[in-house]
């Protein structure tokens, strides 16, 4: 049971980081960057390639994170800003960010070939026993990074001027810009943070899944499911969605069967969308409201 919980939280943190990457971009710009999964892939493959060339692991990791961040920003300037300048309410970014994803994937497939590349095992080779369960140091670091991401986001958003400006831009960019907020700078920052988080998720999952040009699709989809479960409006809620998805997927795998991990996430997201369309952790606590409404209805019937 403890092993299921810990393994689920570890996997869920990876999904959650990708979901946060989606959510932070959406929070500021109201755009979903469909190249987010590919940014995860970029960081993994760059680390694989640079370490293979003889560079130290740490330098490969730093380069991978920087590259994912820069590509995130580049996505904004290439695929988002031009279409939003043309029409602020356009949905053309749906196609343009998807186009960026395909180009990144094809470019890396051309450079690296289709075969998976080894990734340095690093801390994943060191097991830690926690009673009946075993985690690796890498997995413990993953959990710590997830916690740090939630706490960090909360502190920045709540207690810094930057966070408050971001909140204002998220609520109404036009009014925010009239009081001096640089909306473009915040959008760039959001895409940079999104790229960084996706790259970070790649570094953390790399020792388990290795590097492959086509990885972005898988993690992009699971990150998006986590986003839908947690709620798209709040980045910290997206991380919560990842954790729920991770734990329940591993539990389904263990207690229902290995095939359950294929269909269970989709059943879960369907249930969430039916019961709380804005996500489990969305503001307003819709689940509580749902039960309160039923109770009130029942009381009315009884009266």
């Amino acid at each position: 049971m403890l092993q299921v919980l810990l393994s689920g939280l570890t996997v869920g943190t990876i999904y959650g980081l990708v979901a946060m990457a989606f959510a932070i971009v959406f929070y500021v710009t109201k755009v979903i960057n469909f190249a987010t999964g590919q940014l995860l892939m970029v960081s993994i493959l760059l680390v694989s390639g640079l370490v293979k060339l003889g560079l130290p692991d740490w330098l490969g990791i730093v380069t991978g994170l920087v590259a994912a961040t820069v590509l995130g920003v580049a996505t904004y300037f290439i695929a988002v800003r031009p279409v939003l300048r043309f029409d602020r309410f356009s949905f053309a970014w749906l196609v343009s960010t998807l186009g960026v994803a395909i180009v990144i994937q094809a470019t890396f497939a051309l450079i690296y070939g289709p075969a998976s590349q080894p990734f340095p095992r690093g801390l994943h080779a060191i097991p830690v026993r926690l009673g009946p369960a075993t985690l690796t140091v890498q997995e413990i670091v993953t959990l710590a990074v997830g916690l740090l991401a939630i706490v960090g986001w909360h502190l920045v958003r709540r207690y810094t001027l930057l966070g408050k400006l971001g909140k204002a831009i998220s609520t109404d960019p036009e009014i925010a810009s009239t009081v001096g907020a640089n909306v473009t700078a915040f959008a760039v920052g959001a895409f940079a943070i999104g790229g960084f988080l996706a790259g970070l998720a790649g570094i953390l999952v790399g020792p388990i899944t290795y590097g492959n040009p086509y990885l972005g699709d898988t993690y992009g989809i699971f990150g998006f499911i986590a986003l839908m479960i947690g709620g798209i409006q709040r980045p910290a809620a997206a991380m919560g969605g990842g954790l729920v998805l991770g734990v329940l997927s591993i539990a389904a795998n263990t207690y229902i069967g290995a095939q359950a991990s294929d269909w269970f996430p989709f059943v879960l997201v369907l249930l969430v969308l039916l019961l709380t369309p804005n996500g489990v952790f969305a503001s307003g606590d819709q689940l509580r409201r749902l039960f309160r409404t039923r109770r009130a209805y029942q009381q009315g019937v009884n009266a």
Binding site: S7, S116, P118, T136
Partner: protein
């Protein structure tokens, strides 16, 4: 190498039939006396290296034959495309090549169930790397008739399963567990194991099917499965999964300190370098089977392998390139034996009568009932040695 579920195959086949209206005049031959041969293989995607090997091996044979004057004076026109391991794409390509006059289709190593089914429906010979033999060629099991128009020179999941099971029966007293892919690739391996286990009156202590990411290469989470295997008490586990998942499995059990668990592979574990590259030192000790002709390559094969490296910028040859090369020469011999006839029925009859063809992968034969060239007697058990960087024979 199967990645297609039966439902998808049926749908793809039905779609192709609907589109073609049961096309296929079967005359074949192409323009200007050329003999058109179609090739389908997944050269992109996470396991595209296999498709590349298939196309390279085929092209090498075609170029050699054409340079030597062709088949009865007719040049071979090899037309191929990437199916991206997609059944729908594969069925479209099949139909396209047949409409271009292809006398036979080579492949696909990724969508074999689709090409095999279409071969029967459109009555066109399908040859070479047709998935990994096994259930792709014998859809109703090893004791039932094969697809009448499919002739696989590919690695054969029945053969690998039976061979590795024989070894496990003798060396795993504590019990045998198995994780397998749910497609015809994994089910073919399971059927091979079951044949040997049934004959010995044994059974698995634990079996589980796991869906994998053949397209993206993402590994599946194996923590829960490893725990179940440990709980089952098995001392050996057959991991009939992708090379990436096999490597992840080896690394996970190393992290967990499960040093005594013996891990068995499958026909693609050593078909290329994917597994050993990914697993690193933790891959040491993996046991599988390999074509005896690859374990002890003769002079002819060694020369061929060197030529392959020279032609393809140092790319390492593997069994998929070798068996695809063999398939083209088999087709050449069959057409020559039929005095140059390239109609589908003549080719099929010739393939059914092929006996002791001297190929790179051994002495190859087909009969009406046997449509796979590789059997377990052609295999040798091997173990990966990280120190020597070789699959060392263990029998």
């Amino acid at each position: 190498m199967k990645r297609i579920i039966p439902g998808a195959v049926a749908l793809a086949a039905a779609t192709a039939l609907a589109l073609t209206g049961c096309a296929g005049d079967g005359g074949g031959g192409g323009e200007g006396g050329e003999i058109v041969v179609g090739g389908i293989a997944g050269t992109t995607g996470a396991y595209g290296a296999v498709g590349v090997a298939v196309i390279n091996g085929t092209q090498m044979a075609v170029d050699e034959i054409n340079a030597a004057g062709g088949i009865d004076g007719r040049q071979i026109k090899f037309v191929w495309d990437d199916d991206a391991a997609d059944a729908t794409k594969s069925s479209q390509l099949f139909q396209q090549f047949v409409s271009e006059g292809a006398v036979a289709i080579l492949g696909s190593p990724d969508t074999g169930p689709t090409t095999a089914a279409l071969g029967d429906q459109m009555q066109i010979p399908v040859l070479g790397a047709v998935d990994d033999g096994g259930l792709t060629v014998y859809p109703n099991g090893p004791d039932e008739p094969p697809f009448a128009w499919t002739f696989s020179t590919s690695l054969n999941t029945f053969a690998w399963g039976a061979k590795i099971a024989d070894w496990a029966i003798a060396n795993c007293p504590g019990g045998l567990a198995m994780l397998h892919d749910p497609t015809t690739y994994g089910l073919g391996g399971l059927a091979g194991f079951q044949m040997s286990l049934d004959a010995a009156g044994k059974d698995f202590v634990y079996v589980e099917s796991i869906t994998e990411n053949w397209g993206s290469g993402a590994t599946v989470n194996l923590d829960a499965e490893i725990q179940k295997i440990v709980d089952s008490g098995a001392d050996c586990v057959e991991v009939w999964l992708t090379p990436g998942d096999e490597a992840a499995f080896m690394q996970e059990i190393a992290s967990l300190g499960l040093d005594d668990l013996v891990v068995l592979g499958n026909d693609v574990t050593n078909a290329d370098a994917t597994f050993v590259d990914l697993a690193g030192p933790e891959g040491d000790g993996m046991i599988s089977a390999l074509l005896t002709s690859d374990v002890y390559p003769n002079e002819r094969l060694q020369e061929w392998q060197q030529k392959y490296r020279d032609l393809f910028d140092g790319l390492e040859p593997g069994p998929f390139a070798e068996l695809s090369y063999d398939a083209v020469y088999i087709l050449k011999q069959v057409i020559e034996d039929a005095d140059g006839a390239t109609d589908p029925e003549s080719i099929r009859a010739g393939l059914n009568a092929l006996t002791d063809f001297d190929g790179l992968t051994g002495s190859l034969s087909f009969t009406e009932q046997i449509h796979t060239t590789i059997n377990k007697e052609q295999l040798t058990m091997v173990q990966w040695s990280f120190d020597s960087k070789k699959w060392e024979p263990i029998e």
